[in-house]
Symmetry: C2
Subunit: 402 residues, 2 copies
């Protein structure tokens, strides 16, 4: 656990032209930070990716509408209450949160984005929110990223962030992100929130496409418990304050450098979520190759990564490859039982659907590691998929039950 | 737990013309019964329903082929080893098990059905199996049903059976069944096996249709952990030894009495599986109404019943209806958030997608009960579905991890 906490101990580097703050407003019972504000000093372009759940929280509805305007000055976030399943009053409360923030910052209300995370079904404590916003604005600073990362935490053990600086036209461009995890401790505390900021100048369509692609290769590649929240939101702001002169589009010679930086930030944030899965001490990479299609590979990999029985066997460091076979068998992916090969790291446990006879102790040694790769080749096509996940421990259940 | 154990303490009534036996052959390390034999003194008609998993154990392949012949004299079963993912050798071993049984009983080998349950991936210990069969045959008796029910257990806490006697043309007809559970303790111990026996005379097509319908309304309505095994098998034998003169078909005036009896047996066996879910102390009936279609209702109900986070909240007796909303939102069923109503027994927690304000303590009192109903009305159509399930406790995970 000490190693995990160390990971988050450094300061967070915000790109040029951004300030942030995080503090305790008093939404949560525990004495921890529960509100954050991120501000771009100049209007930024904004892109967003949201939960696919049919039940969406009021702030998700607000943000989905807001990104159509294309301009962002601020993101105001609270933890401790998801403002989900709160009906019309929930929508009014989100709008009010945006309005208070807009008024205090003196920016247009349609450039203020709102995110909430926490319990579902309770109305926001609006007097507490109002006071929080009033305190957040004077607290804004370029060094405030870490406070913001702490304030959006729910069941996370530590704040999570990543930052990359690249060169565009020889000038420094930074991409930074903070995230809170999708793993759940209290059963009504869900939600992944990620906020990525860059000072690059980027064309609006390119911005959204870059974010969608990055999310597909990162946040959509992880699973802790398979549930999808009402509040999941990823926002990307680009305020153009870096010194390069030409707007980034896919035609720009440095476009790929930007895309790689964004992918690195989102992937690192996603992996931090897995590493911070509650009660979890392992990261397992599930790689499925040779499937009938990428879609089939994805189905098989997700079934493995979400199988309660596979995940508990990892916690016990048991090499139960039969459970992996069985799980793929009902995953919906096409499999031919006698074609399947399975490896744990470089040790092959299954060839053509049956046990290779390799030492079980060797397999258990691999599974006992904090990080290992479960690789499956279905040997019937070219489809591939990777999913990052963690094991399920007793601790996880205890926390969820209590 | 004492109440649970009492449930299985009575003797099992086998229909006329059946004998059974169960004993310890020595497949399992623990000193418990691990082989069973069920015999019909006259050739019986047979119907079967098997796992939909693409990975199927050798005995499932054998039985699927065998029911085409339509005649059954014996079912030989072992626990402790699933004979799954065992390739060609596994198929030869299943055939050998059938042959030994056929030789010892002096019946045709294609009237012998084989079922296995236990660890996946290991070859059967054939000398032990052979000795077991030799011991089982002389042990057969009409009172042997309970021994057989014990011998098919893996992680079950108690043997499970149900028996109903009805009248057909004024003559007694009995339907009896034994089952082992689908809940898993050791992660590689899966499988539901159910054996239903009747002395009724039934037309072959009617027999298969009656079983398929009964399974759809019983074993397919339960879920413990959502996994589907490589070995799941339900067999129904009808040996025609009852005294009624006309073969049962849907046109027979007593057909519905037979169907009801079979439904009762399969439903009671299914509910016993839920009640014996490992680490579980509750049975929850999830009823979804008002869905766009029965298929949608089924998706929503299964998503709720399989959600790790919903199930752990039941263990803690928390009324986390927000999690139920969220789960339905990603279930694939169409839902309109502001149309959803949710009840716990007769107390309405959600109306039109938002909290009714009912006392949380009242809800928690309901959820703390050993049996309660979670009822959802989606209010957008006429589709309905019911799923029976149990909660997930720390105990469940501890056993799975160890």
């Amino acid at each position: 656990m000490s190693e995990k906490q160390l990971l988050g101990d450094d300061e967070i580097k915000l790109p040029t032209g951004y300030r942030a703050a995080g503090l305790r407003a008093g939404i949560k019972k525990r004495d921890v930070k529960d509100m954050a504000l991120i501000v771009s000093d100049e209007p930024a372009r904004i892109a967003g990716v949201f939960t696919t759940n049919q039940v969406t929280a009021a702030p998700v509805k607000w943000c989905r509408e807001g990104i159509k305007g294309g301009a962002a000055r601020a993101i105001v976030i609270n933890s401790g209450n998801a403002n989900a399943c709160t009906g019309e009053q929930g929508m009014r409360d989100t709008a009010q949160m945006a309005q208070w923030t807009a008024d205090t910052l003196d920016v247009p209300v349609d450039t203020v984005f709102v995110c909430s995370t926490g319990s579902i079904g309770d109305l926001l404590p609006m007097p507490v929110i109002e006071k929080g916003i009033q305190q957040l604005v004077p607290a804004l600073s370029q060094a405030g990223g870490r406070d913001a990362a702490e304030a959006i935490m729910t069941t996370d053990l530590y704040p999570k962030h990543w930052s990359v600086t690249i060169e565009v036209e020889g000038k420094p461009v930074t991409v930074s992100g903070i995230v809170k995890g999708a793993g759940m401790i209290e059963p009504n505390m869900a939600t992944m929130l990620a906020f990525c900021l860059t000072d690059a100048k980027i064309a609006p369509d390119a911005l959204q496409q870059a974010l969608t692609d990055a999310v597909n290769q990162s946040f959509n590649r992880i699973t802790v418990d398979g549930d999808q929240s009402t509040n999941d939101t990823v926002l990307l702001l680009a305020n153009g304050q870096a010194q390069h002169s030409t707007e980034l589009t896919p035609a720009h010679p440095d476009w790929s450098a930007f895309v790689e930086a964004l992918h690195e930030v989102t992937l690192q944030l996603a992996l931090k979520i897995v590493d911070d899965g509650e009660g979890s001490h392992k990261r397992i990479t599930v790689l499925v190759e040779g499937a009938n299609s990428d879609t089939d590979a994805d189905k098989a990999a997700r079934a493995i990564a979400n199988s309660f029985l596979v995940k508990t066997s990892w916690a016990g460091a048991h090499a139960i490859w039969g459970r992996v076979m069985e799980t793929m068998g009902y995953s919906g992916a096409r499999i031919l039982e006698d074609q399947v090969d399975i490896w744990y790291d470089d040790v092959q446990a299954v060839q053509s659907g049956i046990y290779t006879g390799v030492s079980r102790k060797d397999l258990e040694t691999i599974i006992a590691q904090p990080v290992f790769i479960l690789r499956v080749n279905l040997n019937i096509g070219d489809g591939t998929a990777v999913i990052y996940t963690c094991e399920i421990t007793e601790e996880y259940v205890r926390i969820n039950v209590e």
